[in-house]
């Protein structure tokens, strides 16, 4: 078996070891589960607004199922941190925050997999409680039983991450204490970073992030290498293709109606770059992450499972 990266090897080895206790079926699943899956809507493209949430839910379910199901990552009794992008005071249709239906579906799946607690939270750029409310994520997550957590700045704890650029950085401790973090970004345009997807989503669990922009690729690589995300689900149901990351014009929103799930943030970002009409090699974080061995920018090499949902 060829592993995409060292991390992938460790992950699968760990999963296999854990599966040793839970039976041969688990071992089989863990061994054969693909590293990436892309679910695309193949039904009618003109959808009424209320249908989009249902499509988002289906896409999320199928994409996660194809990478081995959420139970590959979440075990009974786990504390899970779901990390959507809730940066801005914008409604879902502006594609500035992760789609609430995607978040809610993941929370539901975590509970079905036996998670003890599912926490949902981000460190918004805008006024916190307003961003939580307007994004629709707080209400959607609460409805399915998640704890919606506000990251208090005074609760962050400085952690040595020993990266190339970042030596230490304040990180929200509950994220580090969680048994598993599920990274749920939205794919969108970003004025400086060109795009913001899975790697950049982790800027939402740290403080002192203003200087990141001066070397966005390297700092995001440092952060992701430290946090070791195990599973990311990229929301490309609606995407923002210009005037990101905040957006605010429906003209800048496109509807690829797709969700990708995978274990490799670099590969997911590379895929999302193409969705947004860019080339992966234009994106400094993708290139830096690839060079640092965090993942592969050649996402096709992971043989992603393509699923058409209708």
């Amino acid at each position: 078996m060829v592993f995409a990266s060292r991390r992938e090897f460790l992950l699968q080895a760990g999963a296999a070891a854990a599966a040793g206790g839970s039976g041969a079926l688990g071992a089989q699943m863990a061994g054969s589960a693909p590293a990436m899956a892309i679910a695309r809507w193949a039904g009618p493209q003109e959808l009424p607004a209320e249908e989009i949430d249902k499509v988002a839910e289906q896409l999320t379910l199928k994409a996660l199922e194809a990478v081995g199901g959420i139970s590959r990552f979440v075990r009974r009794g786990d504390v899970v941190w779901v990390k959507p992008n809730i940066a801005w005071i914008q409604p879902p249709e502006m594609a500035a925050n992760t789609n609430p239906a995607v978040v809610a579906t993941i929370v539901r799946l975590c509970f079905e997999a036996g998670a003890k607690v599912v926490k949902v939270g981000d460190n918004p750029v805008d006024v916190v409680d307003q961003a939580y409310e307007r994004s629709g994520i707080a209400a959607a997550a609460r409805k399915v039983g998640a704890q919606v957590v506000i990251m208090d700045r005074a609760r962050f704890r400085r952690v040595d991450i020993k990266g190339e650029r970042l030596q230490s950085i304040p990180i929200y401790p509950e994220v580090l204490d969680a048994d598993v973090v599920i990274n749920v970004p939205i794919a969108k345009h970003h004025g400086l970073a060109t795009i913001t997807v899975a790697m950049k989503n982790f800027m939402g669990v740290v403080e002192e992030r203003r200087t990141f922009h001066q070397a966005i690729g390297e700092t995001l690589t440092d952060l992701n290498r430290f946090l070791q995300p195990k599973i990311s689900v990229v929301d490309a149901v609606r995407v923002l293709v210009a005037r990101g990351p905040r957006g605010g014009r429906l003209e800048d929103v496109r509807m690829p109606l797709a969700v990708a799930a995978g274990t490799d943030v670099v590969a997911l970002d590379a895929w999302a770059a193409e969705v947004l009409g860019r080339k992966p090699e234009e994106i400094s974080s993708v290139v830096c992450g690839h060079k640092a061995g965090l993942g592969t920018m050649n996402y096709q090499s992971l043989n992603p499972v393509e699923i058409a949902v209708s």
Binding site: V127, A154, R155, L192, R246, G248
Partner: protein
Amino acid sequence: MRLPRWSGARTRRLVQLTFLLLFLLAFLATRPIPGREPPGWAKIFFWFDPLLLITTVLAAHSVVAWGLLALITIGVTVVLGRVFCGWLCPLGTVHDIAGRIIRGRKDRPGVNQYSPWQKTKYYVLVGMLAAAVFGGHWITIFDPLVLFYRSLTTALFPVVQWAVEEGSASIYHADPKVGPLRVTTLTEPAYRAFRDHLRVVEKQGFLATAGILGFFVAIVALNAYRRRWWCRYLCPLGALLGLCAWRPFLRRTVDPETCSQCELCGMACHGGAVSNKAQTWRPSECYGCLNCTEDCRRGSLGFRWVWPWRPDKRIVGVNLSRRGILASAIGGVTLLGFFRATPQGRAKVYNPNLIRPPGARPEPEFLARCTACGLCMKVCPTGGLQPCGLEAGWEGLWTPRLVPKIGYCSYDCNRCGLVCPTEAIRPMKLEEKRKVRMGLAFFDITRCIPYAYGRDCMVCEEHCPIPEKAIYFLEVEVVTRDGEVRRIKQPKVDPTKCIGCGVCENVCVFRDRSAIRVTSANEDRHPANLAVPPWEDLPY
């Protein structure tokens, strides 16, 4: 009517506490809640304030419809006397509590005698009303409701917040345990309740609060000299109500058969309204607090309905001198002249740091309405609205301005205009408010990283809330120290789109002095301060 001895003052204390709590409740209820407009009743106390009504009518020739409720206060005062001061005013209650704590239950004989200095408040009122006729609204910053609200918002509550936040955070990080119990299992829920239901924004603090707090502490501390010192000597609202209570229908009566002229009632009077061995009464100084009837051992005192035209030799009026009134009026207008005879007051120059809240009226009209009550600062979700020091001159002391370095004007908020009790900030719909220009952003290219250091940055561009982006960038080539040519993105401001919300200044990497700063230039409330007209077809 004779109120039973045992109930009057006690009932009054209960009413006082209730109104103090209601005031605090209204204060806390203005906390901005996502997706909801601030409750209309948050400013209900101000609507009932006749000083605000009269000065706003005099100065701005305008009245906020709900403000007419203050006529009820005037009517009640004409009939019952200054019961507002004695029974309802929350600051009066604070004074009563402070006096009780500092001076104990009783005063020695003579302490509470009337002093002619108590006329000061009337002369101040006269002077300030004269100034109001010429557009000066300054007296309202000393209105008791206003100054109490402002002190709560900008000085007292932030101290509570500081204690809760710092205390709970240090417990969180130390994580002490008592036996098997972690202390944080108690403190964290308490902190979160405070965070989710009481505070507005974390680490909230205000500028220029030394004066606000100092003033508040001083007038409360002066209870050590005389109970209700503020109400007796200076309160402008008390003075106004005192004039209304010139000949109230409800009057204090003494039964000459039983009164022994013991002066217990005079000792118990916190307004100095009783003198001459209980025989004379000054209704303009009487709060109707019923302390005197409570303390009279012979039951000689009461309050009785009397037709106002009935002569009553025991009543002593305010007795202002004509000369004093004239001098006060001249003094008030002179003070206003002093305030306004400045380059800024004459609109020859504009203070770059005076960025008023969105929808603030042109400066003279704004000052003719703003009371500096602090409601707008209280509801500002970023904490960016701050009390002025002297940025707007003495006349603008403690009035609101946006300090983007501390907090920006949220693109998704229009609360300040909705809560302003005198509409100094116009109430606007969100879509309308989003178009108001408060100022213009400028890059300091000696600091801005892409300009000064040839690196990418763009935090400001990312945050710019205008959908079309008032901050954009141009790709340029720069030469590094080693002679290498790099392509970087340099940010620019589009003056036709910038509304001066200040989020760019707020989020700039430089925490000391931002490399992009907003000034009041281009504010649309002053056409004369327009520097770069928003003509979109011209190049920029």
